[in-house]
């Protein structure tokens, strides 16, 4: 735990940035770990845990030390919901919090803005955005959705969009986003079209075709589709959506704006703004990019009418552009937004940096998924190439998951009896289907995970099957 006494400070107020010689000094994706030009503002990382390894990269025991604050009793195979944060980054965050507490006025006047800019600059490079103005930092994807949808609502209210014009979204969009669409779009006169996607998914083509159909519906009767809201990786059930193709289709079909909700984006899938081509793109950094709760970016393409966006919490920065508005939304703890350069140092301790981590996570989650499928005699929710670091794995039919509340209660049972943290999903049987798989779990794989955790899940479910367990026996 960081001490509460003031950090050592040289007379000239300069901070010495220590870097271990063992840190990989190569750049990854063209992003150097040294992103803050003015060292005076840089906080040094705490010393890395000792290692006997001669490798340049982080060792297994160092990783364990970085995540030693995780509850050791649990098989924590749900990184997708709330992410994780290594202790080195937590320590840097504490430093930032202390700097504010120490002398908040000076922090506000001299340090906050340049260091948020440093984070934004780091993100800009990571996501291949053209210009820093296009990168705003917000709390989370939920906030980003409110920002984009508020802009849509204004357009309806101010008559730039006709009543009844459509907003198209996926049926599997996140619950909060659906409510946001209701609050902002439906309330101001927009029509909402939900595109049903198949699940389990056989191929990307299925999704593309269904989406095209959804767009056609949106355009019916001479309406315009004003916004397409597409997930990059759906949450539940979790599938990687072929968004490059979907964005192209949107352009072909004359959709005004495309907003990609990539809550699970950065650190999970490839996020290249120019390549994806959306008008708006948001991703949480606290899910797969090792940030503490909470920090996300909202990318707004310059040519995409981005000047119309405003942060809903209006401060004195109103009118100075979304990125600047977002740097000050009243007195807050901004420390989570300031650690991005430190996160780059962390990920660059891994072979291949963030790309290496993504690749290994993907390979591992598929391997674990297939192990479970084999043991339970079920199936994956999608082909391996349509998942990233999460995959849906069918539960044995005999467990009798017959409703959403069954799924929730089963999840609670796994947590309480087996100390396994895993989200469950109820997939209603289609018409005419008998004996289909109605229950799925969503497993995640992140650098701190180990095969034993998935073996525990495998064995727990097998035990339930052996005991003749049925979800109907569960009460709240």
């Amino acid at each position: 735990m960081a001490s509460l006494s003031p950090p050592e400070e040289a007379a000239a107020s300069s901070y010495h940035h220590r870097r271990s010689k063992r840190y990989s000094s190569s750049t990854t994706n063209g992003v150097s770990a040294e992103t803050v030009p003015d060292k005076r503002h840089k906080i040094s990382l705490p010393p890395p845990p000792p290692s006997s390894s001669s490798s340049n990269f982080i060792s297994l025991s160092e990783i364990e030390a970085e995540f030693s604050h995780h509850d050791p009793a649990f098989a924590r195979i749900n990184n997708g919901s709330f992410g994780c944060c290594p202790s080195s980054v937590v320590a840097v965050q504490r430093d930032w919090q202390l700097r504010f507490l120490r002398q908040p006025d000076r922090f506000f006047f001299d340090e906050l803005k340049p260091n948020i800019s440093a984070s934004r600059a780091a993100i800009r490079r990571l996501i291949n955005a053209e210009h820093e103005d296009e990168v705003s930092i917000v709390d989370n994807a939920t906030t980003a959705a409110a920002i984009v949808l508020q802009q849509t609502a204004w357009a309806f209210r101010e008559g730039r969009f006709d009543r009844g014009d459509a907003v198209v979204m996926l049926h599997y969009a996140f619950g909060s986003v659906k409510k946001s669409v209701e609050a902002y779009v439906s309330r101001s006169g927009g029509e909402v079209i939900e595109v049903q996607l198949p699940f389990p998914v056989i191929s990307a083509e299925e999704i593309i075709n269904r989406f095209r159909t959804g767009l056609e519906l949106g355009k019916a009767n001479g309406r315009r589709v004003r916004l397409a809201l597409i997930d990059h990786v759906t949450s539940m059930p979790s599938v990687v959506i072929p968004i490059r193709e979907l964005v192209k289709i949107c352009r072909e079909e004359g959709v005004d704006q495309v907003f990609v909700d990539a809550a699970h984006g950065i650190g999970c899938v490839d996020v290249d703004m120019k390549e994806i081509g959306a008008d708006f793109y948001t991703s949480n950094l606290h899910k797969w990019f090792f940030a503490p709760p909470s920090v996300a970016f909202l990318y707004c393409r310059r040519s995409g009418g981005g000047n119309n966006l405003h942060h809903p919490v209006v401060s004195h920065e109103y009118g100075n552009g979304l990125a600047v508005e977002s740097t000050w939304v009243g007195t807050r703890d901004y420390s989570a937004q300031l650690v991005v350069p430190s996160i780059l140092e962390f990920v660059n301790r891994f072979e291949g940096g963030i790309d290496g981590i993504k690749k290994k996570n993907h390979e591992s989650v598929v391997e674990m998924g297939e192990m479970l499928v084999k043991s339970w005699g079920t199936q994956l929710g999608c082909p391996p190439e349509m998942c990233a670091s999460m995959v849906m794995v069918g539960l044995p039919v005999c467990l009798g998951v017959s409703s959403e509340s069954d799924a929730v209660r089963l999840r609670n049972l796994l947590r309480e009896r087996f100390c396994i943290e895993i989200p469950t999903y109820f997939r209603a049987p289609g018409e005419g289907e008998t004996d289909s798989i109605t229950g799925y779990v969503r497993i995640s794989f992140q650098v701190y995970n180990k095969p034993e955790e998935y073996h525990r899940l495998r064995d727990a479910v097998n035990e339930l099957v052996r005991d003749g367990f049925k979800c109907t026996s569960l009460t709240d």
Binding site: N78, C84, L101, P104, D105, S180, A183, V314, T331
Partner: protein, 454 residues
């Protein structure tokens, strides 16, 4: 050690408790307090608690525990701990402020967020035709800049108009403020318009004055104002807050300013109505439609730890004589005493009489400093921060045509004020440093125009 024993009334101390560990029943000593705020930068006269507040180490420790609990097993925390923790905080606050029902109390980040919530609602009423174009929002001219921008963003944009009431300053009585406000409401109703919202500060920020908020709300009711929003960013921990007695429709106060919470947390009180209240958190989550308190309890994955420590803050304030009431009284009395010390030393004035101050006081700066603009005020503030290690906000008072202004002992017009704050960690030396810094500037014939660069 023996002295401790005698004080505890027990010479033969069979209790093998570590004598250095304070009993919970004993009040904090001066050295305990210094230790609670040991993380404050030493050597700085931190007389600006009003801007960003403070947080003692015991509360920071409690916050860390909540943060670690999330990091340790976030799902378990989310499903089993978060809501209960938030409800515990809301319950403490609800009873502190005399709300009828805990449902009336929501937790948000800060007053800026609450303003957005109220103004979004007002904006919707205009957009949806419930209010007529040109209907007004009335506020004081010194309302916080963020609030004014929020009005621009949500009300002016949809056709509402605004009336700004000039706060008399320096001010000598509540009546001056109440009459000015009544005039403002009349203006707001001119030409058949309706006043849809009045925004009243409980304690204005700059310049800082304790407002007669009960009277002002009564005037609003008399004059048929539709809704009253009290922006009380500084109130809780500064002044007694009784929301029923004040009688506003909306009332917000930050807890990280004067109530020892870490950044950031505010409570937002919305008086219960017979019909459902159309207020919503702008960051919409799956809780949309379940009432503002529930909506605000989940606005996506966030660090909610600062909202969970309110019970720990109560433990902290109980360690002061008289609890929070004792703290408020002593802060007020000391701030006034220091204020008088400064205006005597500088030959200037207080911005308002002691009964219209809280733990903050406005003191006129010597005219010889020649503060002639907002930029000058900022320059002076930076100079004080960098060269004198004094942190104090400076307010430039632009006089309007015909206004005579108040003169100091050198017969110059007083054009600027400092706002001093007094919180439990402050010491007399802090204010003496400020006193001497200004006195020396004047002695050296320094003005804002020839201050050394920072």
């Amino acid at each position: 050690m023996a002295a401790d024993d005698r004080r505890n009334g027990d010479l033969t101390n069979h209790n093998h408790r570590d004598p250095k560990k304070p009993r919970l029943s004993e009040f904090l000593t001066e050295s305990d307090i210094r230790s609670e705020f040991a993380h404050h930068q030493t050597g700085v006269a931190r007389v600006n608690n009003g801007s960003f507040g403070c947080c003692p180490s015991s509360v920071l420790d409690a916050q860390r525990e909540w943060q670690l609990r999330f990091l340790r097993q976030p799902d378990e925390f989310y499903f089993n701990g978060l809501r209960r923790g938030l409800l515990a905080s809301r319950t403490v606050i609800s009873s502190l402020i005399n709300a009828d029902d805990v449902d009336e109390v929501s937790l948000v980040d800060n007053a800026t967020t609450a303003a957005a919530i109220v103004l979004q609602r007002v904006g919707r009423c205009f957009s949806e035709g419930k209010y007529q174009k040109e209907d007004t929002v009335v506020m004081f001219h010194c309302a916080f800049q963020s609030v004014k921008k929020s009005i621009q963003a949500y009300v002016t944009r949809v056709g509402g108009s605004t009336v700004e009431v000039r706060l008399p300053f320096p001010v000598s009585s509540n009546d001056e403020i109440v009459s000015a406000f009544r005039e403002g409401l009349k203006k707001g109703r001119a030409n058949g318009r309706a006043v849809r919202l009045a925004i009243i500060d409980h304690i204005t920020s700059m310049p800082c004055v304790l407002m007669p908020v009960r009277e002002l709300v009564n005037v609003c009711r008399e004059e048929g104002v539709e809704e009253v929003f009290v922006d009380a960013a500084h109130a809780i921990g500064s002044v007694k807050v009784d929301v029923k007695e004040i009688g506003a429709d909306y009332y917000v106060s930050n807890l990280h300013k004067w109530f020892f919470c870490p950044p950031s947390i505010a409570f937002f009180y919305c008086k219960k109505r017979s019909s459902e209240l159309d207020v919503h958190h702008p960051v919409v989550s799956h809780e949309f439609g379940n009432g503002l308190a529930i909506e605000s309890a989940w606005i996506g994955t966030r660090d909610y730890s600062s909202q969970l420590v309110v019970p720990s803050v109560m433990e902290f304030v109980k360690r002061f004589e008289g609890g929070i009431d004792g703290i408020m009284e002593r802060n007020h009395d000391e701030a006034v005493r220091m204020g008088l010390m400064l205006c005597n030393a500088w030959g200037t004035n207080l911005g308002s009489p002691p009964e219209m101050c809280v733990g903050m006081v406005m003191i006129g700066l010597p005219s010889k400093l020649c503060v002639e603009s907002d930029e000058d005020a900022v320059k002076l503030r930076s100079y004080l921060r960098v060269h004198r290690l004094v942190e104090v906000p400076v307010y430039f008072l632009g006089l309007r045509d015909g206004e005579e202004g108040v003169r100091d002992k050198d017969s110059g017009v007083i054009t600027a004020y400092v706002r001093i704050s007094r919180q439990v960690y402050n010491e007399t030396e802090d204010y003496e440093r400020l006193r001497d810094a200004i006195t020396e500037l004047v002695k050296d014939q320094m003005t804002c125009q020839n201050l050394p660069p920072v």
